[in-house]
């Protein structure tokens, strides 16, 4: 919990500074815009966090967005499926891919980085091929309630943000209060010990990829309707990196067994506010990436320093660490 306080303070400070420098930051319109973006990015970042908790990683998210976006558009506009069916198919499809990743990681025992790197390449190619390299979109149609659900607002709060809040609450309970969540952290920390306690560690790890895929599926639909048009070659590129960055900023360790839903949401918000700041303060777009890179590094370093101070007892005792514990430098 203390971990999140640091980054939350950072977020608040940033917001305060921006709103002083440009009061339009706190205008209703801007807040709505930001809430919408935070919602879209936050949902899949939470999924990324779940995978990272099991000491995995998912690089395929961005390509999955492209693939599912293309397919969603085709289902709705070319094959004229009813929207609930299309949505179910798309989310079910991504979950099938998640299952595949999980199986390759746990049964074939491949490294998550490699599995999802192949996914990144493969799904991008598949999306482009299926769409014949043409942009797909949703035109101006409503598809029943689907567009409203994906892009509308409830009492001024954009739907993606509503979705994020609901999912965050649900995932908070799952991760931090349920048996399943406890097992996720356990396998992330020490898979062997979990297995020796009778936990089906493979199933738990594989399931994390499925959960992540489901959340990516939801996010993907929100993003598709946000842009309303999906260019198969460009849609979603680098989004996996945004998700990883948000999770890491929010206190997830890539070594597994650490992380919190609240932290991830705050991390997402922080990154989003940064981008908003670049635009609002008129900083050249070219520096947007540089600002993000610098802030992520700063956040991680501060976290590292705080952690070392808090836990210096544990951190310095290299020789006493158990066999299964981190062996590498770069504690984070």
């Amino acid at each position: 919990m203390k971990k999140e306080v640091g980054i939350f303070v950072l977020l608040l400070a940033l917001c305060a500074v921006v709103s002083i420098m440009d009061p339009r930051f706190v205008s209703a319109a801007n807040l709505q815009n930001q809430a919408r973006l935070i919602g879209m990015y936050g949902v899949f970042s939470i999924g990324m966090g779940v995978v990272i908790v099991t000491a995995g990683i998912d690089l395929s998210v961005g390509s999955i967005f492209a693939l599912q976006g293309v397919l969603l558009s085709m289902m709705l506009r070319e094959w004229h499926w009813p929207w609930p069916l299309a949505v179910a198919a798309v989310i079910g499809g991504t979950m099938a891919l998640g299952t595949l990743h999980g199986a390759l990681v746990t049964v074939a025992r491949l490294q998550p980085f490699i599995v999802t790197l192949c996914g990144l390449l493969f799904y991008r190619g598949a999306a482009r091929f299926i769409a014949s390299d043409e942009a797909k979109g949703f035109g101006a149609e409503g598809f029943g309630m689907l567009r409203e659900l994906a892009t509308g607002s409830i009492a001024g709060v954009p739907m993606p943000f509503v979705a994020l809040v609901a999912i965050a609450v649900l995932m908070w309970v799952v991760l931090h209060r349920s048996v399943y969540g406890r097992y996720l952290f356990a396998v992330g920390r020490n898979e062997d010990a979990a297995r020796y306690s009778g936990i089906n560690s493979r199933l738990i790890i594989a399931s994390a990829y499925v959960v992540a895929a489901a959340l990516a599926g939801i996010s993907g639909i929100l993003i598709a309707f946000y842009t309303n048009s999906i260019s198969p070659s460009g849609h979603g590129t680098f989004y996996e990196l945004y998700g990883i960055a948000a999770a890491v900023l929010g206190g997830c360790s890539l070594r597994g067994g650490e992380g919190s839903v609240i932290g991830i949401v705050i991390g997402t918000a922080l990154l989003q506010v940064l981008r908003n700041l670049v635009n609002l303060l008129g900083i050249p777009s070219s520096l947007e990436f540089a600002v993000m890179g610098a802030v992520i590094l700063a956040g991680v370093m501060v976290d590292q320093v705080l952690m070392q101070r808090r836990q210096s007892r544990l951190a310095t005792k290299g020789p006493r660490e158990p066999a299964g514990a981190p062996k590498r430098p770069g504690e984070c």
Partner: protein, 505 residues
């Protein structure tokens, strides 16, 4: 005492929250073997880490040959002639044996490119291995060696450094009798050559056999010293624990129901050719002895289902239990306390509470959500029952001493009312005080009707605790001894099978 090679004065080391060493002094003469003992967490390894340059002392002085020695890095220590065999195995399984032995001191050629001259390294490595009675080529990949042989490679490495002082921090914890024997011979050889040795072990019997002097640490302070003639079990224990320990080994009243737990024709992946069959009575402690690599741990893991057996049947109370995973075993109330508790027994970065409730978290849930209060209460009760020394159940297991960590592993299973409990090396690396408690717990469980299978490489422990002893050799069960037939000789005879000393030489 011979002229002092090493003199350590007033060493103090503070870790955040712990005063690990408080004004500790230690002297070692040339060609002297000093035994260093103390309970878990007494500060033995910390003191050695300071001598070996792994960490720095906060205060105090180190003198070698009467001159002040500044040991800031491991290289400093090596340059000063201090060899260090660490408590944890520190080998690299992606290098060959010779590469491990000469790591950091490779013979080189090729000028500034500093190329490794491998041929020279292999031949020199083989010489050192031979001195330890190990006849393996220097080019053998280390990963192919058994744990014991890996440990021997580490010892060869210390020898190869031409050290004047060799620190051995629990070198025998992974060795069984024959290798231990071999090591003790080597220690005596080294002493004869004028090499000094600091020898740390929880196996107090070894002290009497090799140490010229025993230094005892307690809670980070010097607790006393025993000269050659004064070294005996009782004296050592008294200095370590500060009081006498009673009822060290406790034997029980024997099996209440024979054939309560039966293993028939079990074949494991490590030794697919051998079938193992035995049974354990209700309330009985069956010891399982053997040399390292005899396949005992494999049997335990197969019964517990973490490494599913190739074939065989497990019967409990006359009924066959199908075990394909640890969950099947747990459902049948067959539990394993694994030999490597920090790798397999505990998630050390998690709290005591989380570890204790891990196997059966569902019990503490309402509608799938964990009820914190219920869980804390249950964990607290277990800790109290086993007298786990921990600030609270919210402490990370990482911060507990070895003995208390082992009790947490036990606590996790005792909450689930075991029928069969398998202990694999239950007291490895654990001090005498904690050992005694664990033996008592084990006996209490047996009295309450649990069938206990205890794998151990310490003959004293096997002889002291078991009601019957099964002995394995290279994957096969070579015999089961009744209590009255048990003796060191009888067990060793079975343990080395048909060709004694083969595995050791």
């Amino acid at each position: 005492m011979p002229s002092a090679l090493l003199e350590v004065q007033g060493i103090t080391k503070r870790f955040p929250g712990v005063l690990a060493l408080d004004n500790v002094s230690l002297a070692v003469g040339a060609g002297e073997v000093v035994g260093l003992i103390g309970e878990n967490g007494a500060g033995k390894s910390t003191l050695m880490n300071i001598l070996g340059g792994v960490i720095q002392a906060d205060a105090g002085s180190i003198r070698l040959d009467g001159r002040a020695a500044a040991i800031r890095t491991v290289s400093d220590a090596i340059a000063l002639g201090i060899g260090f065999i660490h408590q944890e195995l520190n080998v690299l399984d992606n290098l060959d044996v010779a590469g491990n032995i000469f790591l950091g001191r490779e013979p080189v050629w090729g000028g500034p490119l500093r190329l490794v001259s491998r041929r020279e390294m292999f031949t020199r490595a083989e010489e050192f291995l031979k001195r330890l009675g190990l006849d393996i080529p220097g080019s053998t990949p280390l990963g192919q060696l058994s744990l014991a042989h890996q440990q021997m490679v580490e010892i060869a490495k210390a020898l190869s450094q031409d050290a004047r002082l060799i620190i051995m921090d629990e070198p025998t914890s992974a060795l069984t009798l024959s290798e231990t024997e071999r090591l003790l011979v080597t220690v005596r050889d080294l002493r004869a050559q004028g090499v000094s040795i600091i020898y740390i072990s929880h196996r107090l019997g070894e002290m009497g056999r090799c140490a010229d002097r025993v230094v005892v640490l307690r809670d980070g302070r010097n607790a006393g010293e025993l000269g050659r003639g004064e070294i005996n079990h009782q004296a050592m224990v008294r200095l370590m624990v500060g009081r006498d320990l009673q009822d060290w080994y406790v034997h029980g009243s024997g099996a209440k129901a024979p054939r309560y737990f039966e293993v028939r024709g079990l074949r494991t992946r490590a030794h697919p050719a051998c079938e193992v069959s035995f049974d354990v009575g209700r309330g009985e402690v069956l010891g399982l002895a053997g040399l390292v690599g005899a396949g005992r741990s494999e049997v335990a893991q197969a019964i517990f289902g973490v490494d599913a057996p190739l074939a065989g049947e497990v019967r409990l109370e006359g009924k066959t239990v199908r075990i394909q995973s640890a969950r099947d075993a747990i459902r049948a109330r067959i539990y394993l306390v694994p030999e490597d508790r920090r790798r397999a027994g505990l998630v050390t970065e998690m709290t005591v509470r989380e570890n204790i409730t891990m196997p059966d978290l569902w019990r503490y849930t309402v509608a799938g959500l964990v009820r914190g209060a219920k869980e804390t209460a249950a964990a607290g009760a277990q800790c109290a029952a086993l007298r786990v020394k921990t600030p609270s159940v919210e402490a990370k297991v990482l911060n507990l001493s070895g003995g208390n960590q082992q009790k947490v592993v036990l606590a996790k299973w005792l909450a689930l009312e075991p029928k069969v409990l398998i202990f694999d090396e239950p007291t490895r690396g654990i001090d005498v005080g904690a050992k005694a408690e664990i033996y008592r717990l084990m006996r209490d469980l047996a009295e309450r009707g649990v069938a206990i299978l205890m794998i151990s490489s310490e003959l004293d422990e096997i002889l002291g605790v078991s009601d019957r002893v099964a002995v394995m050799h290279e994957g096969a069960l070579t015999g089961i001894l009744e209590r009255r037939e048990c003796s060191e000789e009888a067990i060793m005879h079975l343990a080395v099978g048909q060709c004694p000393l083969r595995s050791a030489s």
